[in-house]
Amino acid sequence: MTGPILSLRGVSKSFPQGGMLDRLLGRDGRLVALDAVSLDVMRGDVVGIVGESGSGKSTLAGLAVGLVRPTTGDVLLDGQPMAELMRDHAGPWRRRVQMVFQDSSSALNPRKSVARCLGETLALRGVPKAQCESEIAELLTLVGLGPEIGPRLPHELSGGQRQRIGLARALAMKPEVLIADEPVSALDVSLQAQVINLLSRLTRELGLTLLFISHDLALVRTLCSRIVVMRKGLIVEQGPCLDVLDRPQHPYTQALIAAVPKGLAGRRTPLPVRAADAAAIPETREDIHGAA
């Protein structure tokens, strides 16, 4: 009953590297994107996942949503393994876990109007045609848009509006878990605040569990209840958001926090980790676990 809604048990994911010739010649290497990661997400949690580019954040999102199959390990939804829930292509996993994408211009089919995009989603959930119109209006209101936006095509919308439609589309499946992969990093600062407030309100109102993937510590601080810090395919630190951000234990977390300029806590300006800091950060799995 009170078990985690989503959990990863020793999940690894590696991708083959190199072309077909390399594979034939046995020169293939594998890129390890995620290395035996375990993570429990409780129902109603808003979890921020932070880390530098290439740290495995997006692979984690793909795994959680079922786009990526783990190389080893298990992903469980409400205690049931992914393999079981996804045996049928349109299985329960599909409805219960949904995703909001980073690039709002690629997230919507340029040839489908907002109403059609949402209508098709509702049809896949099995909503009868007669109810679609009222449900679409409801969804649009939910994300703070008016019904007049229904007939518009994606290119006739602003980036913020598109991102809201992407959110409405995910919510149309009535998911229990929502994965947001850098949902605001392509938006300007004022729109970011709107979308973040919207996400915050929706998670509270709908009792959603949210995995919020970001490289922006300020946003994570305002939105999330828990935080997971990733680096090189490993979770280096996790815990209640404010605890971790105010008293980081791991040197990498400390470096990440130090990289945000003082006095700019509310601004989106994550700077790269300085070379000196980076040198002090443990590189290997053993180092990281030894240090943690």
Binding site: H89, N109, A170
Partner: protein, 294 residues
Amino acid sequence: MSGLAKTLCGLDWSGWLGAGIVGLILLAAIFAPLIAPYDPLGLDIEDRLAAPDMKHWLGTDQGGRDVLSRILFGARASLSVGIGAVLIGALIGVSAGVFAAYKGGLGEQIVMRVVDGVASIPLLVWAIAIVGILGVGPLPVGSLLLPNEVKIVVLVGCLFSPVFARVTYAVAKRIAGADYVRARFLQGASHWQIVIGDVLPNCLSPIIVQGTLLVAIGIVIEASISFVGLGVQPPQPSWGTMLSDARSAIYSGEWWLPAFPGLAISLTVIGFNLLGDAVRDLFDPRSDARTLVA
């Protein structure tokens, strides 16, 4: 299709010129029996090798057949091979391209390597070699007898399919990786729904452009095959056979015999190329962006 209507409105002058030429030739081919002044097969020994005049606008050939009438009827052979081959090629090539792009993995490798293989030999060489092997008679397929013309349409269509496959593959590969396709997948849409509803509609513009340009190539191929005697069989008129028959006339001074069928081929090819280029400019993402911003 409001999209097509909008597209036509955006054509520039050369596009309109191309569309005009193509339209006229299409009309001529369709209404050939109504507008042709004479029977294209009707021999008239009295009037053989007549120079263009008021009675025979484009002159007559060695058998006294009216050149204008033969060109009008010949348009049917040329256009049906050009357009038919493009339709067949699009059907095969687009399916293969979308399949390879969407499926990925081993299927993608196999399909695209076969496409490379077929495309590595020039179209005309393939066409003449295969017709040469099969012969110009009707080809029995099961209980069906395929006339030579149908055989050529199917053959040129198959030879066009790698071009369509590559064009489609390039676009579909990008679209198959787009987030909106992922989103559809996450909602539990079937592969079929995704391909028909999301991937294909977004690949259409380059396919249409390619198709328009390939009609012109199909017409040249039909003329070439007929020229070497493997295509439309005499006495049926075709621009290629007319040119072939006119070879001897080039030196003996009956200039109208090679000139007018040659002109008909050039004009049609230019028409389809102008139209294809104009449509491509319209579908160009940059010109797209311009209209989207406005």
